[in-house]
């Protein structure tokens, strides 16, 4: 699956895009495919402070539980409530309707990978 070039990526398979100081966070198609069918998602509540590179929630698939790491620091301002009823959106559109939460960033994220760098990383993991 191709990886959108306009997003930033982490080595732990999250994606992030910052617009007007608000970061939207999700997990990548590679992560979603590796996990299998996602059946439950827990994201931080609105108002929670998250810290870059720290666990901010969990995704559970048929077989496993994985932590979600926030790629950015700041306050959570919105969560994707539709995932409660339709966590499968993460499998079908991980870079779109499957977004997880939005953060008002307290500092510009650093150390993100480009689409090209991330693709290379995942090719190494396959």
């Amino acid at each position: 699956m191709s990886v959108p070039t306009e997003l930033g990526y982490t080595a732990k398979h999250e994606w992030v895009v910052v617009e007007d100081g608000i970061a939207t966070v999700g997990i990548t198609s590679f992560a979603a495919e590796s996990l299998g069918d996602i059946v439950f998602v827990e994201v931080p509540e609105v108002g929670t402070e998250v810290t870059a590179d720290e666990p901010a929630g969990e995704v559970e698939s048929t077989k496993s539980v994985s932590d979600i790491y926030s790629p950015v620091s700041g306050e959570v301002v919105e969560i994707n409530e539709s995932l409660e009823d339709s966590p499968e959106a993460i499998n079908s559109t991980p870079f779109g309707d499957g977004w997880l939460f939005r953060v008002r960033v307290s500092e510009e994220p650093t150390g993100l990978l480009s689409a090209e760098e991330y693709t290379k990383l995942t090719e190494g993991e396959e």
Partner: protein, 370 residues
């Protein structure tokens, strides 16, 4: 399942799986399809139409010779000399201490011939135990696991898909029966058995290399009828919904069949068999346990080893848990004391520190309409 240190073995169907886009994983030392696309879709296909499984990792152990029936009665807890030719029986093999070494299906192929089908992880242990237990009898025990492929066709449309490809009159093959027939022109042992809670067939293919011919013929025949290839992930949720035990989860060498609530498979009326003394004692002394079903009121999946509580007090442990595609809710099986009152009280499961409210239900979670 711990990863094996050695390179996992490939089945004869590995290329077929790779071409179908399967995610392959090391399972009990074999490279097996975990899923092809969505395991939930595979599960639903088996419930509503049909699924095709590669089970070539399972062990096939043949016992033949004039004393074959006597060996089987000595080696296993069941009364296998009483199984009619052409029929199959679910049974167990235990150590002298009564601990379960494996649960398996045994097919009686002839008066003097049986085929025992062991779990992949236990196949070597079972083959060695059977060979040892056959000493002094006029019978041969041969581990033929490497010679066989095993394909399972499971789901309500299985017979419809298989019928045009076999010489067998499928109406004549009852549940838990198996005979020599052909499928796609290849001689096989064709059995009406399975591990999904659906009607279906298991096709034992020897030599193993013939499996792709049969797989491809079934896949083509079933393509317009909703048949999909299905992996181990769907197999696990299907058997869980059907309330079937899995060795390593509901069964282990630390448990006797009585501990597992499956004492009915032990035939103490047989005068001697390996483990009889320990099992006879266990039948009198084991405090009855019960395998119960749990259905969560929440969405967070229940998992193996999580604690079950009644009104906040620990009463049991989850042995298997998963999201149920059929019920649309997380389900689990758990052992509790046989005397436990499950009709009253508030039941919860400790999911990583959170109490998830669950309802206790009778097993199985799913039973097909017959």
């Amino acid at each position: 399942m711990p990863e094996s240190p050695a390179e996992p073995r490939a089945t004869a169907l590995k290329d077929v799986h790779e071409n179908a886009g399967a995610t392959l994983v090391d399972f009990a030392g074999w490279l097996m399809p975990l899923r092809y696309a969505s395991e939930t879709a595979e599960h639903k296909a088996v419930r509503e139409a049909a699924g095709l499984f590669d089970l070539s990792h399972m062990g096939e152990i043949r016992v033949s010779g004039p004393d074959a029936a006597a060996v089987m009665d000595h080696a296993f807890v069941g009364f296998l000399s009483k199984v009619k030719v052409g029929r199959a029986r679910y049974t167990m093999i235990t150590g002298t201490d009564g601990g379960v070494l494996d649960d398996l299906i045994v097919y009686r192929l002839g008066e003097d011939e049986y085929l025992a089908v062991a779990n992949a992880a236990n196949a070597d242990v079972v083959a060695a135990a059977m060979a040892e237990r056959a000493e002094g009898f006029d019978a041969r025990v041969e581990d033929e696991s490497a010679q066989y492929s095993l394909i399972a066709l499971q789901g309500p449309r299985s017979a419809e898909i298989l019928a045009p490809l076999t010489d067998a009159d499928l109406g004549e093959i009852r549940y838990y029966a198996g005979y020599e027939h052909t499928v796609a022109g290849v001689p096989v042992l064709l059995a009406r058995t399975g591990y999904t809670g659906e009607d279906g067939f298991e096709i034992f293919v020897e030599p193993a290399e013939k499996a792709p011919e049969i797989w491809t013929a079934l896949a083509e025949q079933g393509s317009g009828l909703g048949l999909v290839p299905a992996g181990l992930s769907a197999r696990d949720t299907l058997r869980l919904e059907a309330g079937m035990p899995l060795y390593g989860q509901e069964l282990s060498s630390d448990l006797t069949p009585y501990d597992a609530g499956l004492g009915r498979v032990v035939k103490l009326e047989k005068e001697t068999f390996v483990g009889r003394d320990a099992l006879e004692e266990a039948s009198r002394t084991t405090r009855p346990r019960r395998l119960i079903g749990l259905v969560s009121r929440g969405r967070r999946p229940l998992r193996k080893d999580q604690q079950v509580l009644r009104d906040g007090e620990p009463v049991g442990t989850v042995t298997s848990g998963a999201p149920s595609p059929t019920l649309g809710r997380p389900i689990a099986m758990a052992y509790v004391d046989g005397e436990l009152d499950t009709a009253t009280g508030a039941f919860t499961v400790d999911v990583r520190g959170r109490a998830e409210a669950v309802d206790v239900v009778e097993l199985p979670f799913y039973r097909r309409d017959t």
